[in-house]
């Protein structure tokens, strides 16, 4: 029985975590040869992994596109907590 696109997509995602069985790989291969949607999904999830692993800088930005930093409040709070802990021994 043919698998649905949802099932194939799940297998595609799993294939990035562990090796699929031979049967599963054949099913995926046949499906991809006929289904542009799943082929697109396969390309995108691999591309996502590649992009993320090459572009960590772009992920460390805040909403305004600046490098994320501790807010003044958080900084003061953490410093105060540390100071008290240091004094308290």
């Amino acid at each position: 029985m043919m698998r649905s696109c949802e099932e194939i997509a799940r297998l595609l995602s799993e294939s990035m975590e562990h090796k699929l069985t031979l049967g599963q790989r054949i099913e995926v291969w046949i499906h991809l040869s006929m289904c542009r949607l799943c082929a697109g999904f396969a390309r995108m999830i691999k591309g996502l992994r590649q992009a993320i692993r090459q572009g960590a800088d772009g992920l460390a930005l805040d909403a305004s596109g600046q490098p994320a930093k501790l807010s003044g409040d958080a900084r003061a709070r953490i410093e105060e907590t540390l100071r008290r802990r240091l004094e308290g021994g």
């Binding site: 992009a51 993320i52 772009g58 596109g65 958080a74 540390l82």
Partner: protein
């Protein structure tokens, strides 16, 4: 590490930690946890844990690297805490709308945007990452964090399962949902394969 007898023990300087290392640790944590509050908490926990184990600091590496090592563990601890409240959802349900790689049921076969993922040579790098961060923030927070630990930090599936105390099939479901959600959210925006470096 009974190094107390070493006269030349490395000096650590907790009073300067926030200034010297605060932003870097925060950036690491917030990139993965997506929540400023959770990331601030992790930074504080990191410093407090470091104070407690300061005597163990062997000084073999830089102070910053030592703190970062503690911070990484605290990030994982934070993600592990997140799964407590919704632990029931940990058993993978057979189907979920979130598993669909395309929104809606009837017309997804006609969705050209995903099938024809556009080359993105003309898409600005900054624009892509801004969209990516927005899409990531729309995912359930645990899903997003697990996805980042796996994809960004390249932590092996087995290690994540052990650290978070979840089964492999639960991990696969989480990762698949994150991928399906992200590709749905980013579809037509670009083809990440063609992303400018």
């Amino acid at each position: 590490m009974a190094a107390d007898d070493h006269a030349d023990r490395p000096v650590i300087d907790p009073a300067a930690w926030v200034d010297r290392h605060g932003d870097r640790l925060y950036r690491y944590a917030v990139t993965r946890l997506r929540s400023p509050e959770a990331a601030e908490e992790v930074v504080q926990e990191t410093f407090l844990a470091a104070l407690q184990s300061a005597h163990q600091y062997a000084g073999t590496g830089a102070e910053g690297a030592w703190l970062m090592g503690i911070c990484k563990r605290k990030v994982v601890d934070c993600v592990r805490r997140w799964q407590r409240p919704d632990a029931a959802s940990d058993s993978p349900p057979p189907a979920d709308p979130a598993d669909a790689i395309i929104d809606g049921g009837s017309n997804w076969r006609n969705d050209r945007k995903l099938a024809d993922a556009q080359p993105s040579a003309n898409v600005e790098r900054a624009e892509f990452w801004a969209a990516f961060r927005r899409c990531l923030d729309r995912l359930p927070k645990r899903q997003a964090a697990v996805f980042m630990l796996r994809e960004l930090d390249k932590i092996e599936s087995d290690t994540i399962c052990k650290d978070l105390n979840i089964s492999s099939s639960n991990l696969w479901v989480l990762l698949h949902r994150a991928r399906a959600g992200l590709t749905r959210c980013l579809k037509g925006f670009f083809d990440p394969l063609e992303m400018p470096q």
